[in-house]
């Protein structure tokens, strides 16, 4: 075991110049973000664009998006372990690597949003007081940390078995795989419930929010995995079969169609008989009282998703890697806006007392967020490096 860890560290520390330049670049972004975070810690959250009116902002927006990315790893886990598809099995550990990076990023986005991060231990039952099962935020802590453990534990066992030259015993890890599948759906459902649990915020208080979260996660997740697999294909000698990308593209197509249908359902319900429950969505799409800072964002997102769904629905365009990649980028950015600036922020506008107060992230927030993203990329890079080396048999007990 210790030798495995030792070899693992040695593997990720070996790489060509480009590999090191990439890591160095990420480290620089992280350093910039840490400097911004120190400023936020010493001055207070006043350095962000948030206010009593819009009390959650860019951080929680990214959190909501990233939980979806993490959940989407299940789309590789199901075909790999349940349907036993060999082609998918070869990349499933990469998918779980994305999940690990995404969960860590999501958790960090919550931590940087805290006014008192040093009191984080108050959540630990025993020394702290954990308001479970009443608080949805407590639920989120439970499901996210559980998901992180599952996605570290299963791949670790498989990699370690392969490292020792044996085959992992399916009977041993299969129960955990089944658990991880349900768990993946639960993390994003709970995150949706975190928002929809609030009658105080009519924009979120809809039963459609959970389904919408899952549908949009099954767009952005596969989109990101498709792009990642192609990068791996280009920079390593690891074989990634086209059939995996085809499968993910098909799932993504259905999910995006369903997601857009949900958007239409929401727009209809809100605007056919427009009442006080529709003020936020009116602000988002059209602006109210001359305030409309989110309007360009949501229309951009909608446009991106529409172009993406068109490309994906037309078979030749979906099978063409260039157009498919365009669709993936558009859909990922589109969903990122829809779930962040388009979902979290307008929930706070207007306030429950009807005040319209706008929000724009500050440079500090952008810097800290960039650092978390860079850290996520770094974690994934290192994990992927290890996974590929073990899968290719370059790191074994024998050597």
């Amino acid at each position: 075991m210790i030798r495995f860890l030792f070899d693992a560290v040695r593997t990720v520390l070996q790489g060509p110049r480009e590999y090191w330049l990439w890591l160095l670049f990420l480290a620089a972004v992280i350093a910039y973000g840490v400097a911004n975070y120190v400023q936020q810690l010493t001055t207070g959250l006043v350095v962000t664009g948030m206010s009593d009116q819009v009390s959650w902002g860019f951080y929680i927006s990214n959190f909501a998006f990233l939980v979806g990315i993490a959940a989407a790893a299940v789309l590789l886990v199901i075909p790999a372990y349940i349907f036993n598809r060999r082609d998918v099995k070869e990349v499933v550990l990469v998918g779980e690597g994305i999940a690990v990076a995404a969960v860590i990023m999501a958790m960090l986005f919550v931590v940087v949003d805290l006014g008192r991060p040093e009191r984080f231990w108050h959540m630990i039952p025993g020394p702290g007081r954990f308001n479970f099962p009443l608080s949805l935020l407590a639920w989120d802590v439970v499901v996210l940390s559980g998901y992180l453990l599952l996605n570290l534990g299963i791949p670790f066992y498989i990699l370690y078995s392969k490292y020792r030259g044996g085959e992992p015993s399916l009977r041993l890890y299969f129960p955990f795989v089944v658990l991880a599948i349900f768990w993946a759906i639960s993390i994003h459902t709970v995150t949706a419930f975190l928002f929809s649990a609030n009658p105080a915020r009519p924009y979120w208080h809809t039963a459609l929010l959970g389904p919408r979260f899952i549908a949009s996660a099954f767009v952005s997740g596969p989109g990101l995995i498709i792009l990642t697999l192609q990068v791996i294909r280009r920079v390593t000698s690891y074989r990634i079969e086209q059939s995996v990308i085809d499968l993910l593209a098909l799932i993504m197509t259905f999910a995006l169609q369903i997601n857009l249908f949900f958007v239409v359902a929401e727009l209809f319900t809100d605007f056919y008989n427009e009442g006080s429950h529709s003020v936020s969505i009116r602000y988002l799409f059209f602006g109210i009282e001359g305030f409309a800072s989110l309007r360009p964002w949501i229309w951009t997102a909608l446009g991106m998703n529409l172009v993406a769904v068109t490309i994906l629905t037309i078979h030749p365009l979906r099978r063409n890697l260039v157009t498919l990649n365009i669709a993936c980028v558009l859909a990922c950015v589109g969903i990122w806006i829809e779930k962040g600036m388009g979902l979290v922020i307008p929930g706070f506008i207007p306030t429950p007392l009807g005040e319209v107060f706008e929000y724009t992230p500050t440079r500090t927030e952008l810097g800290v967020s960039a650092a978390i993203w860079a850290l996520g990329f770094m974690i994934f890079t290192l994990l992927a490096k290890l996974v590929i080396a073990v899968e290719q048999g370059k790191v074994t007990h024998a050597r």
Binding site: G44, R129, G354
Partner: protein, 315 residues
């Protein structure tokens, strides 16, 4: 001040000498001393290392023994003196037996002067620069209760304005408070006298309670709240108006420091028109019970099912 020796050298100065003195008294090793000396002075807000440590690793309010509560109160007093330069008296008066507080406002009498707001700010040691206010008075269009049409920033010098009426909003002390459910660490709860309180030393600052509140009654300390020394109200309560730190949520607590010893909340006292009524809902002879029995009353957003203990009525 029970612990003057611990208190004096560190206050305000942030000098290394004071810190060394404490490490000596604490008997910490050289390694710890090195680590501590490297940290910048405001790391524990001008407090002693011992106090900072005790604050960091203190228990939840409901789990503290009477002695521990006492120690926490004294720490709060020392912290306030270090930060604001004024001595305060922090109490922990328990809720009165057989009392559940309720509130009613006569909207036909309120003129929108906002004297309640300034009375509250002074009484409750609200940050002056951060401009946190527990009460928001809305200037409403006559003929509607639509909050979207309310003016939050009307000029109090010109009130009352023809065609408008005034609707003060503050924490409704809901009997089924969504904010309490939301808090992941039980830093906010309802006391036996019906008041929803926050332990400012337990709150982690996630602001989920603010998201859950339908009345926009919760406010966050985005920065260190500043109060001029001469304006500090030194009569404070642990769950009430004691000076708050940065990064935590606060809200109206029906002036616990006053109401638990039989006085009226500051907003009731400040109101020049007598629009505000405060009292014990369990006392059948109280004025508030008379209003509920004899006036046409309504509650804001009653349909959300949070059971506010805060009513509005008209003449």
């Amino acid at each position: 001040m029970s612990d003057g020796q611990q208190n004096d050298p560190e206050v305000g100065s942030g000098a290394g000498g004071g810190r060394r003195h404490f490490l000596k008294t604490l008997g910490l090793g050289a390694a710890a001393a090195g680590a501590v000396a490297a940290a910048p002075a405001p790391a524990w807000g001008g407090r002693t290392l011992k106090d900072a440590f005790a604050d960091l690793f203190r228990k939840h309010y409901k789990e503290m023994s009477p002695d521990e509560v006492e120690a926490a109160l004294r720490r709060i007093e020392r912290r306030a003196e270090a930060r604001l330069g004024v001595g305060i008296d922090c109490s922990n008066t328990p809720p009165l037996e057989g009392v559940v507080f309720g509130y009613a406002i006569n909207v036909s009498v309120c003129r929108g002067y906002r004297d309640c707001v300034s009375g509250c700010v002074k009484e409750n040691n609200l940050g002056r620069d951060s401009q946190v206010q527990y009460i928001r008075v809305l200037e409403m269009e006559q003929g509607t209760l639509d909050l979207e049409q309310a003016d939050h920033y009307y000029d109090p010098a010109t009130v009352p304005v023809e065609g408008k009426y005034y609707l003060p909003v503050q924490c409704m002390q809901c009997d089924d408070p969504p904010c309490v459910k939301a808090c992941p660490v039980e830093a906010t709860w309802m006391e036996p006298d019906g008041v929803v309180v926050v332990d400012y030393d337990w709150c982690i600052g996630c602001r989920y309670c603010m998201t859950a509140c339908p009345y926009w009654a919760r406010h966050f300390n985005w920065t260190e709240p500043q109060i001029p020394a001469e304006e500090v109200n030194s009569n404070t309560h642990y769950l009430g108006n004691r000076p708050r730190p940065r990064g935590v949520v606060e809200k109206c607590h029906f002036c616990l420091q006053r109401t638990r010893v039989g006085r009226e909340p500051a907003c009731v006292e400040a109101c020049p028109t007598g629009a505000r009524v405060f009292g014990n809902l369990l006392d059948p002879d109280s004025e508030i019970r008379w209003i509920l029995a004899n006036k046409t009353v309504f509650r804001l957003k009653e349909d959300l099912g949070t059971e506010p203990k805060f009513w509005y009525y008209t003449d």
